[in-house]
C-alpha cells in the first residue's frame, strides 16, 4: 500500500499519455495489420480483389510494381545515406578544428534542415527539371550549359534507367547533411583536448590522430546518425511527392505507392499491407537499437 502511494501519483500523471500513445500508436498499428489481412471483393463483379491473410502480402510482394518501388527505395537509401554521412563527416572535420567564421558556415550548412520537405521539393523540382538544350533547359541543366559543360545535363530522377533514384537523393542529402554535421561536431567537441595533445606528443600524424583517437570515439554518433537517416529514408514521402508529383511511377517508393493504393486505386487493404511492410523494415532496424541504447545507458549509470 505504501508503495502504491509512492508511485501511484506518477502513474496517474502519465496515464493520459499512456492511453493516447497506446491507442494512436499501438492500437492503430494493430488495426492497420488487421485491415491488411482482410479478404475483399469487388462491389460490382463480386470477384475477389484481395484473397485475405498473408496471401495479401505475398501477392503484393510479387507484383512488378512493388518490386520496382522497393528497388527505388534501396537505391535512394544507399545513395542518400552514403552522401549524407560523407558530407556531414567532411563538414564536421573541416569545422571541428576551429576556423574563422565557423558559426556562419555551421548556420549555412544547417539551414536546409529548418525548411519543410515540401518547400525544398518545390525548389528542387525546378532545379532537377529534365528538359535539355539551351532554349528548353531550366534548373541545373541550364546552369551546366551556362558553365560550358553540356554533357552534364541529365534527366535526373525521371530517367527510365534503374539508378534514377540516385538523383532523388541529391535534395535529400542537401537537406540533411547539415544535421549529420551537427551530430558529428557535438561528438568531436565531447572529446577532451588532452587526448589530442597526448597523441601529438606521442608523434601521431593528423591522419593517425583521426584514425586511431577521434573516429573510434565518435562511432556511437555514427551509429545513431545511420539509424536516423535509415528510418527517414524508409518513410520519405513529402520530398518525392512534391518533386515527382502525386502519380509518378519512375520515382515510386513504397511510401508514395501507398498513397496511390489508397486513393486512386481505392484499395485500403493492399495499402495497409504495404504500410505494414514499411513499418516492419523500420522496426527491424530501430527496435534492436532502442534496446541497445537503453542497455548501454543503464550500464553507464550503474
Amino acid at each position: 500500500m505504501r508503495r502504491l502511494r509512492t508511485w501511484g501519483p506518477g502513474l496517474l500523471l502519465v496515464s493520459p499519455s499512456i492511453i493516447l500513445v497506446g491507442i494512436f500508436v499501438y492500437g492503430l498499428i494493430g488495426l492497420n495489420i488487421n485491415t491488411s489481412l482482410a479478404q475483399t471483393r469487388d462491389r460490382i463483379t463480386n470477384k475477389i480483389t484481395n484473397p485475405g491473410g498473408l496471401a495479401n502480402y505475398t501477392n503484393l510482394l510479387q507484383t512488378e510494381r512493388y518490386q520496382h518501388a522497393l528497388w527505388n527505395l534501396l537505391v535512394l537509401t544507399v545513395v542518400f545515406m552514403t552522401g549524407t554521412m560523407l558530407f556531414g563527416l567532411l563538414w564536421a572535420v573541416l569545422l571541428e578544428r576551429g576556423v574563422t567564421g565557423e558559426g556562419v558556415f555551421r548556420s549555412i550548412y544547417l539551414f536546409p534542415m529548418a525548411i519543410s520537405f515540401v518547400a525544398a521539393g518545390v525548389t528542387w523540382r525546378w532545379l532537377l527539371s529534365p528538359a535539355q538544350g539551351a532554349d528548353q533547359a531550366i534548373g541545373l541543366n541550364q546552369l551546366f550549359l551556362k558553365m560550358g559543360m553540356p554533357w552534364l545535363q541529365s534527366k535526373w530522377w525521371s530517367d527510365p534507367g534503374p539508378l534514377n533514384m540516385a538523383a532523388m537523393a541529391i535534395p535529400a542529402i542537401w537537406q540533411l547533411a547539415g544535421y549529420i554535421m551537427a551530430l558529428f561536431l557535438a561528438g568531436f567537441r565531447g572529446i577532451s583536448e588532452d587526448q589530442r595533445e597526448a597523441a601529438r606528443v606521442d608523434g601521431a600524424t593528423e591522419w593517425q590522430l583521426y584514425r586511431y583517437v577521434l573516429f573510434p570515439q565518435i562511432s556511437p554518433v555514427a551509429l545513431s546518425a545511420l539509424i536516423i537517416l535509415g528510418h527517414m529514408s524508409m518513410k520519405m514521402f513529402d520530398l518525392i511527392y512534391s518533386i515527382a508529383g502525386a502519380n509518378s511511377y519512375t520515382a515510386e517508393v513504397p511510401a508514395t505507392y501507398m498513397w496511390i493504393q489508397l486513393f486512386p486505386q481505392s484499395n485500403p487493404t493492399a495499402a495497409a499491407a504495404n504500410a505494414t511492410i514499411i513499418l516492419a523494415i523500420v522496426a527491424v532496424v530501430v527496435i534492436p537499437y532502442l534496446i541497445y541504447t537503453n542497455r548501454t545507458e543503464k550500464g553507464g549509470r550503474a
Binding site: G10, L31, S116, W126
Partner: protein, 297 residues
C-alpha cells in the same frame, strides 16, 4: 540518450578561448573548401530569391540563372494573397500542437526521470518507438477513426483541430524524451527529497520546484514541435483538404498547376518557410538542441 541544453557546438577548449592555429596552406585549403560547400548549399536559395523577384515576362529558360531584368514584386503579392489563409491556419496549428505536447512531455518527463513506477522503463521505451514509426503504418485506421469521431459527436474535428490533435499525440514521445533527459540533470534528487520530507506531494513538488526550472526544456520542445508541425505534409495530405489544410498543402497546390508561374511559386516557397527560418535564425542553438535530442548519445 543525452540532451544537451547548453549550446553544444561551441569551440571552447577546456582552457577557455577557442584554439586557432597559425594560417598554413592546410588552413587555406580548409577555408576554400568550406566556402565552396557553403555556396553549393546556398544555390537553391539564390534561385528561389532571384526567381521570386522576376516578372512573368522575365521568366525564360535562357535567363533562368540571371538576376531579374526588372525587379518585380508581382510574384510575392500573388503568393502572399494565395497563401495567407493557410499561413494563418498553420500558425494556429503549430502553436497549439507545440504547447499541448510540451505540457504533456513535461509531466511525463518528470515522472520518467524522478518518480518512476514499476515498468516505467518499458513504457518509456514503448513511447520512444512511437517516435520512429512511419506514420503510413497508422494512417488508414487513423483516417477512419477521426472521421468516425467527427461524424459521431465531434463535428469540429476537421481541418486544423484534427491536425492539432494528431500532432499533439505523435509529439508526445519526443517531448517526453527531451524533458526526461533535461530533468535527470537539471533537478537534483536532494531537492526533491527535501520537498518530500517537508510533506510536499508529487504534484506540489512538480508545480513549485520542477516547473519553475523547466523553461530551457520548454524552449527546446516548443521550437521542435512548432517546426515539425509547421513543416508536416503527410498528415495534412491524408487528413485535410486544401481548403482547410496548412500552408504546406497550399504551397503544394500553388506549385502543382499546369502552367507553373515560377515567380509566385518561388515567392510561395519563401512565404511558407519564413516562420521556421526566423525561428532557426533567432533561436538557432535551441533548434540544434532539439535536433540533437532526436538522436541518441
Amino acid at each position: 540518450m543525452t540532451t544537451t541544453l547548453e549550446p553544444p557546438l561551441q569551440t571552447r577548449t577546456p582552457t577557455g578561448r577557442p584554439k586557432r592555429r597559425r594560417p598554413t596552406p592546410m588552413t587555406a585549403l580548409q577555408f576554400i573548401l568550406l566556402v565552396l560547400f557553403a555556396s553549393v548549399v546556398l544555390t537553391p536559395l539564390y534561385v528561389v530569391l532571384v526567381t521570386s523577384f522576376k516578372s512573368g515576362m522575365d521568366v525564360s529558360p535562357a535567363t533562368a540563372w540571371d538576376l531579374p531584368h526588372t525587379w518585380s514584386t508581382d510574384g510575392w503579392v500573388s503568393a502572399a494573397t494565395r497563401l495567407a489563409p493557410a499561413v494563418g491556419r498553420s500558425l494556429i496549428l503549430a502553436l497549439a500542437a507545440a504547447i499541448l505536447s510540451s505540457i504533456l512531455g513535461s509531466m511525463n518527463g518528470y515522472v520518467f526521470a524522478k518518480w518512476k513506477f514499476p515498468g516505467a522503463d518499458i513504457v518509456f521505451t514503448a513511447f520512444l518507438f512511437g517516435m520512429f514509426i512511419p506514420y503510413q503504418a497508422v494512417m488508414i485506421p487513423l483516417q477512419r477513426l477521426l472521421l468516425d469521431l467527427q461524424m459521431h459527436g465531434l463535428p469540429w474535428l476537421d481541418g486544423i483541430p484534427r491536425l492539432i490533435l494528431v500532432h499533439t499525440i505523435y509529439g508526445i514521445p519526443i517531448c517526453t524524451l527531451i524533458f526526461r533527459n533535461y530533468y535527470a540533470t537539471a533537478v537534483p534528487n536532494e531537492i526533491l527529497e527535501a520537498a518530500r520530507v517537508d510533506g510536499a506531494g508529487m504534484l506540489r513538488t512538480y508545480a513549485s520546484i520542477v516547473l519553475p526550472v523547466s523553461i530551457p526544456g520548454f524552449v527546446v520542445t516548443l521550437i521542435w514541435q512548432f517546426t515539425s508541425a509547421w513543416n508536416d505534409f503527410l498528415f495534412a495530405l491524408f487528413l485535410t483538404s486544401p481548403r482547410n489544410g496548412p500552408v504546406t498543402y497550399a504551397l503544394q497546390e500553388l506549385a502543382g498547376g499546369q502552367n507553373p508561374d515560377y515567380p509566385s511559386i518561388m515567392a510561395g516557397v519563401l512565404v511558407a518557410s519564413l516562420p521556421t527560418l526566423i525561428v532557426y535564425i533567432a533561436l538557432g542553438r535551441y533548434f540544434i538542441s532539439g535536433l540533437m535530442s532526436g538522436s541518441v548519445k
